[in-house]
């Protein structure tokens, strides 16, 4: 009972982004989906939380088809999933602490004190102690990503979805984020799906890597298997070789 995508198709107008993508996540693992920018990785993630509905195929989360859920059931489902957005998507008008508390405020039985405690905890987990009263605009790129992560984990989700967590960060900050992703897996035991085009990061955090190409899962394997794969397109992507990737 985890996350499963079965033959998902999705098109935006004439542009077919997903053409029968299939993937099954194992409980507790951190999987990565890699692929070039604009290949539909983020689209894939949005299907998991019901922000998008597949044109064909089914997305299962805990055995339930996300596309067929009613609004209230979808709300329940979303409480089990933490979503870390590409640019953090923090609410500009609120402090970091308020951002983190957003998901908690809607939970029954959470009073002010309990929320404040949990916010402190989460900020501690992402090493943002003491920055709770700042506004997003006052944070650096890495700090914002961490704040976004803190917000995603606040409600103790079962699943964590990372959308390009290291995009636009310097190598040191990237590695800080990668370590955080691993810490989430180890300390919180969440099942995570990381979408990235950063192979270094993918190799570092993922138990399994899926290569998304042409709207389908072209290759799935452990980082070691990816490194040694014979597929030219995958090798071209991993090594950053356009000649191989485009088959020139």
């Amino acid at each position: 009972m985890s996350i499963q995508l079965a033959g998902v198709h999705k098109a935006f107008g004439p542009k077919k982004v997903l053409r029968g993508f299939t993937l099954t996540l194992r409980e507790g693992e951190t999987a990565a989906i890699v692929g070039p920018s604009g290949c539909g990785k983020s689209v894939l993630l949005k299907h998991l939380v019901g922000l998008l509905r597949p044109d064909a195929g089914t997305v299962f989360v805990d055995g339930r088809s996300v596309g067929d859920l009613r609004r209230r059931e979808l709300v329940e489902l979303r409480r089990k999933i933490g979503f870390v957005f590409q640019f953090a998507a923090l609410f500009d008008s609120m402090t970091v602490a308020a951002n983190v508390s957003m998901g908690l405020r809607r939970l029954p039985g959470w009073d002010r004190k309990r929320i404040a405690e949990r916010v402190g905890e989460c900020l501690g987990l992402v090493d943002l102690n003491g920055l709770g009263e700042r506004f997003p605009a006052e944070l650096s790129g890495g700090q914002r990503k961490r704040a976004g992560l803190a917000r995603a984990i606040a409600a103790s989700p079962k699943y964590l979805l990372y959308d390009e967590p290291t995009t636009g960060l310097d190598p040191v900050t990237t590695s800080v984020i990668d370590r955080l992703i691993l810490r989430m897996r180890d300390e919180l035991g969440v099942t995570a799906l990381v979408v990235t085009h950063d192979m270094t990061s993918a190799f570092r955090v993922a138990d399994r890597i899926t290569f998304l190409h042409g709207g389908k899962a072209r290759f799935t394997g452990t980082p070691a298997e990816v490194r040694t794969a014979g597929d030219d397109v995958l090798r071209g992507f991993v090594e950053g070789d356009p000649a191989l990737y485009y088959g020139l």
Partner: protein, 265 residues
């Protein structure tokens, strides 16, 4: 596919008009969906309730100065132009009638509505557009919030609740400034102006203004939310949404103005 020899020169404009018709119908459909969603989202009072007051402050209170400013000059201009128009056979106290009637029935609500379409509508649109393109709207959804309840309902409700008050203040300001102008520049006396003001006054006029401004408030904020949430393609899209909000809501305000005049007067 060459059905007629004229296909080529004609097809482009035909296709263009067909496309825009479909787009317009699509927009109407989406707007209706947003409206239905907003009505449903009214149940989530826990979500929008705490946000209502800040939005009322933003939509209503912050709009008062600009609305008063516009109304003040409208009143002055109305007074001067009325006296210019009425020179001759019609007694000057009709300046009061014209200033009062036009401010209450037409200029107060409509000018305030148009001004706030620019101020409030564009603001909401840009804000929500930015939230849309930076995925904050998606973030709301993933945090189990209904974005309509969280973003649209408090803004639209604030517009509906606050617009009438802003408009009433603007009307009062317009009449006051028209009155002062009549006293200072037109050599009229206060009793004269007041006589004209009261001559054809009906309490219903004020209700008419309130009804109009409620609808304008809903339109300005609703269109702002709608265009904002429809935003795509980054900063440029945000700008486009803001412009569209102002244009569309101004048009709808004027159409509604005619509609209310036909239905209620």
């Amino acid at each position: 596919m060459v059905l007629f020899p004229v296909t080529v020169p004609l097809s482009r404009p035909l296709a263009a008009s067909g496309r825009s018709t479909l787009a317009a119908l699509g927009s109407i459909g989406q707007a209706s969906a947003l409206f239905a969603g907003s009505v449903r989202a009214l149940r989530d009072i826990g979500v929008w309730g705490p946000l209502l007051l800040p939005q009322m402050a933003r939509v209503g209170v912050a709009s008062v100065p600009i609305a008063l400013f516009i109304a003040m000059f409208t009143g002055i201009v109305m007074s001067l132009q009325a006296s210019y128009t009425l020179t001759g056979t019609i007694p000057l106290y009709f300046v009061g009638t014209m200033v009062g009637k036009t401010m209450i029935l037409e200029l107060g609500p409509v000018l305030t509505g148009l001004t706030l379409a620019g101020r409030v509508g564009a603001n909401i649109s840009a804000e929500l557009g930015t939230m849309r393109v930076t995925e904050q709207v998606d973030a709301l959804e993933t945090l189990a919030y209904n974005p309509i309840a969280y973003l649209v309902v408090p803004r639209t409700l604030a517009g509906i609740l606050m617009f009438p008050f802003v408009v009433l203040l603007a009307i009062a300001m317009g009449i006051m400034s028209g009155w002062l102008t009549a006293l200072q520049l037109l050599d009229m006396s206060s009793p004269e102006f007041i006589k004209g003001l009261r001559l054809f006054f009906e309490p219903w006029d004020v209700w008419f203004a309130v009804v109009k401004s409620v609808s304008f408030g809903a339109v300005v904020t609703g269109i702002g939310c709608f265009c904002g949430l429809q935003t795509d393609q980054g900063a440029e899209g945000v700008g486009r949404s803001a412009t569209r909000t102002v244009v569309v809501s101004s048009m709808i305000i004027l159409c509604l103005d005619a509609f209310w005049a036909a239905v209620l007067l």
